[in-house]
């Protein structure tokens, strides 16, 4: 059990994110339905479920990339305390998304500027909040490339000359440079070779623990949540059918669907 969880039990911390009866419909189609949960600072939650179960829908609503049909998402803003993110003005929300939040996309093309150098990609968020010293931006760029184990001699190269694994590392660096408190990731290791996946997961685990970042990670891959997530939510047809501590859910699944998912038959 992580430190964050222990402190929660001791009642010392207030939630970073509080999700209440969140529902998203696409017309008649259910995206996600009646999802409620709480996330504490520094905690990592995994969302698993088969294709079409509503994982991405839920993540996109949580990260304010989409509006919910009903329900609320309260986030503990640094300055103001808990606020429903959908009552923030658009500029406030956009600011939140590029400072206190990070979003790591499955496809690096959605999360990187492909025609801007690696250093420029890492520096963009800093420049957005007013950094105006080239030398310092440069130092931050090199520092973050080191942290995500990218060759610093590639700082002036464009991401399109990077491998898929390198692009994901760069995306992570670009997001973490403002020290966000919450990072959303949709299949961060999807589409990568197994060996590359394993190293990226190791790196992610190290960074998340070291920096005390809370994260919500969507994945098909139970190995990913086993390694990264303190807690797990299992989704089916838009609903959360089982939730709990990762090891407990995976080792002793209660819901028949989770049992199926955990059995080797369904493992990818």
């Amino acid at each position: 059990m992580s430190a964050a969880m222990a402190m929660d039990l001791a009642g010392e911390r207030r939630p970073l994110l509080k999700v209440d009866r969140l529902t998203k419909h696409y017309g008649e189609q259910v995206g996600c339905e009646d999802v409620s949960f709480v996330l504490y600072p520094g905690e990592v939650i995994g969302i698993v479920g088969e294709s079409g179960s509503g994982k991405s829908t839920l993540l996109n609503v949580l990260s304010a990339q989409m509006h919910p049909t009903t329900g609320t998402v309260d986030y503990d803003l640094r300055a103001q305390g808990p606020r429903d993110i959908f009552t923030l003005s658009e500029p406030e929300r956009r600011k939140l998304m590029r400072t206190d939040w990070g979003i790591v996309h499955q496809n690096p093309r959605d999360g990187l500027r492909m025609n801007v150098s690696a250093g420029g990609n890492v520096g963009e968020r800093l420049m957005a909040i007013g950094a105006r010293h080239y030398g310092e931006l440069r130092r931050e760029g090199l520092d973050w490339m080191t942290k995500v184990e990218l060759d610093t001699s590639r700082i002036d190269d464009k991401p399109k000359t990077f491998s898929g694994g390198m692009q994901q590392r760069l995306q992570i660096a670009r997001n973490l440079v403002t020290r966000p408190r919450l990072v959303f990731m949709d299949e961060p290791t999807g589409g990568l070779d197994v060996s590359v996946q394993a190293r990226l997961l190791d790196l992610l685990r190290g960074l998340v623990r070291e920096l005390g970042i809370a994260a919500i990670i969507v994945t098909h891959d139970l190995a990913v949540v086993r390694l990264l997530a303190d807690r797990l939510m299992v989704m089916r047809r838009g609903r959360v059918v089982e939730a709990g501590l990762t090891d407990q859910v995976l080792d002793d699944p209660h819901h028949p669907y989770t049992q199926l998912l955990v059995s080797s038959v369904l493992q990818v």
Partner: protein
């Protein structure tokens, strides 16, 4: 207009070519642009008897603000006598019957492509810029919906990303024209492809500065005495171009110089890009290295013409 007054312009056209309704619409856009300095106001542009790239945006702005008693100057990269400048001047003499001039001081309206005159402007003058691409963020952000939000919320970090990229690649900010500015501390603006040498002239200028983009149908403006700051980094401050040479014709040491190739053996000279400024100085008796040489003068004129033809 009284019956006694003579119609001086070609009667086949409405005064200044555009119909009154269009001019009113453009004037409304101009007023809004002046009220919100640096903000790009969309306008319903009209087809003009010139191809885009020849200054249709500037021409529509000029047509909307010019009066029969105004005197017009037109420059193209600083020169009054290029094809583009001459044809725009001729156009307005014909459709508006206005007087034209090459003297910056005498002009009420100066339409320009790619330069601000060297001579200081005064209150009451209007400088009309021809703008090919009004959106300074376009290069890095192709989505119009997104750039509109960036302006709306003053999210301008991306512009510094472009300057960062310059320094990373060249060791310094290599952008030399269309150098982005912040107007009135609020809106990011492209000054059109003027050399960055001219950027400081926009700041606190007593004249009204109007920008017209024909293809993109946008108008923006800098009112008199507004703050116009060129973007930079603390450790890479904004700097204008400088030359080791003085103008070969008039000897000016503080004007924007064009390089002119004299022969195929690498011979060249530097001359003022502002032809009127240079001629004025020569008339006052100033001479550069080759100032007495009529051949050098002829070369300078040919070179300007070629520059304008793109």
């Amino acid at each position: 207009m009284s019956a006694l007054e003579e119609v001086r312009w070609d009667a086949a056209y409405n005064f200044a070519y555009l119909d009154e309704q269009t001019k009113r619409m453009i004037r409304r856009a101009l007023l809004k642009a002046i009220a919100v300095p640096g903000y790009q106001v969309p306008f319903g542009g009209r087809e003009m008897p010139l191809a885009y790239g020849w200054g249709t945006g500037g021409i529509q702005v000029t047509a909307s603000v010019i009066g029969p008693d105004d005197t017009l100057k037109v420059i193209d990269q600083g020169a009054d006598d290029t094809t583009n400048a001459v044809s725009i001047r001729r156009f307005f003499s014909r459709v508006a019957g206005v007087d034209t001039t090459e003297a910056t001081e005498e002009a009420d309206i100066i339409q320009t492509r790619h330069r601000i005159p060297e001579a200081p402007l005064r209150e009451g003058q209007v400088l009309v810029y021809q703008v090919p691409q009004p959106e300074p963020l376009r290069q890095l952000e192709p989505r119009e919906t997104e750039t509109r939000k960036m302006h709306g919320y003053a999210e301008y970090g991306l512009m510094h990303v472009r300057l960062y990229e310059d320094i990373a690649r060249y060791g310094h900010i290599a952008t030399t024209y269309s150098y982005p500015v912040m107007v009135n501390g609020r809106y990011l603006m492209s000054p059109s492809p003027i050399p960055k040498f001219d950027n400081p002239k926009m700041q606190d200028n007593p004249a009204i500065q109007l920008f017209g983009a024909g293809r993109e149908k946008r108008i923006y403006a800098i009112p008199p005495y507004a703050s116009v700051k060129s973007l930079d980094f603390d450790d890479h401050p904004f700097e204008v171009q400088t030359w080791d040479e003085a103008c070969a014709l008039c000897g000016a040491q503080n004007s924007y110089l064009d390089e002119v190739v004299l022969d195929d053996r690498g011979g060249k000279m530097f001359v003022c890009s502002d032809t009127h400024f240079c001629a004025d100085r020569r008339a006052e008796g100033h001479r550069g290295e080759l100032g007495g040489d009529p051949a050098a003068l002829a070369f300078a004129r040919t070179a300007e013409e070629e520059g304008a033809d793109r």
